[in-house]
Symmetry: C2
DNA sequence: CTGCAACTTCAAGTCGACTTGAAGTCAAGG
DNA sequence: CCTTGACTTCAAGTCGACTTGAAGTTGCAG
């Protein structure tokens, strides 16, 4: 498989694949001339990477989840911890969604006069606005699948 | 109130407050010498901004939610749309959490041999569960809305 | 009146995950 | 053989929300 086939089958642009290789997240099995060659296993690897990203791991963290030989060494405790983290996030977002819905439907003339909105406001003001960089789900620019 | 008092009462560093003023998100009521002076209303304004950030709006979007006179003009349709967006994300994260939990508890010798994990992997590969977007919703203290 | 912590401005730097552009190489179809 | 378009490398740019640093000013305790 050349890079464009991998790109096509994963929806990732070639630039991302080169970037991932440069970072050591994937490996090419060789070259045909200058052109990289990949084998099928890279697809599974990329699926694992996609999963890690979805779970909120950084590329560096994901990299550490692969043994030097390329086999995934996924720590069950780490998965459980991430599941808990995701669960906490779900509950936060649930509160946020409910607040937004109420505010959207609220009949008060101004949101500032709506008690529910004011409560939401207070929660936000005191809410933990932690840097997304730290422990939380990572931000990623959503690139359109091709 | 000088900038450090606002900083103290909101938990935001002075640099952020200056940045917000520069962006036109907040206004100072005057100066004492060079030093900015704020009045109490800035606290409510900053709470609104915090809420907007928590809901996943960008600073530019938030800015547009204030009328030139400073009063919030919150678009109910926009709130409802954001609520839907948050809700969708919640459902994605729910699937992710369940998958992670299963994988953490799965007795298969390797995750790659676990059917549930493989299913999760496929979902991630096809973008069913996506990595959180840049500027996505931030954490807010969860509390039961009423 | 003096010292200095705390403020000020402005430019530039940071962070992660990529993308883009320039310039060069090359495999394969005609 | 020649063209061409897909590949290559490497450096630099992008995005958002700030932070940091340098250099200068100032309110106020002592």
């Amino acid at each position: 498989m050349d890079i464009s086939e991998v790109a096509e089958r994963t929806g990732l642009p070639p630039s991302t694949l080169r970037y991932y290789e440069e970072k050591g997240l994937i490996v090419s099995v060789g070259r045909r001339g200058l052109h990289r060659l990949f084998d099928g296993s890279v697809l599974e690897r990329l699926a694992l990477i996609a999963l890690g990203r979805a779970a909120g791991f950084s590329l560096d963290e994901i990299k550490r989840m692969f043994a030097p030989d390329g086999r995934p060494r996924i720590d069950r405790a780490k998965l459980a911890a991430k599941a808990e983290e995701v669960d906490r996030r779900i509950r936060e977002l649930g509160a946020l969604r409910d607040g937004l819905r109420h505010a959207a439907a609220c009949p008060a003339p101004s949101h500032l006069e709506c008690p529910t909105f004011r409560r939401l406001l207070r929660a936000a003001a005191h809410g933990v606005v932690k840097a997304p960089r730290k422990g939380g789900p990572r931000a990623v620019k959503a690139s359109a699948p091709r």
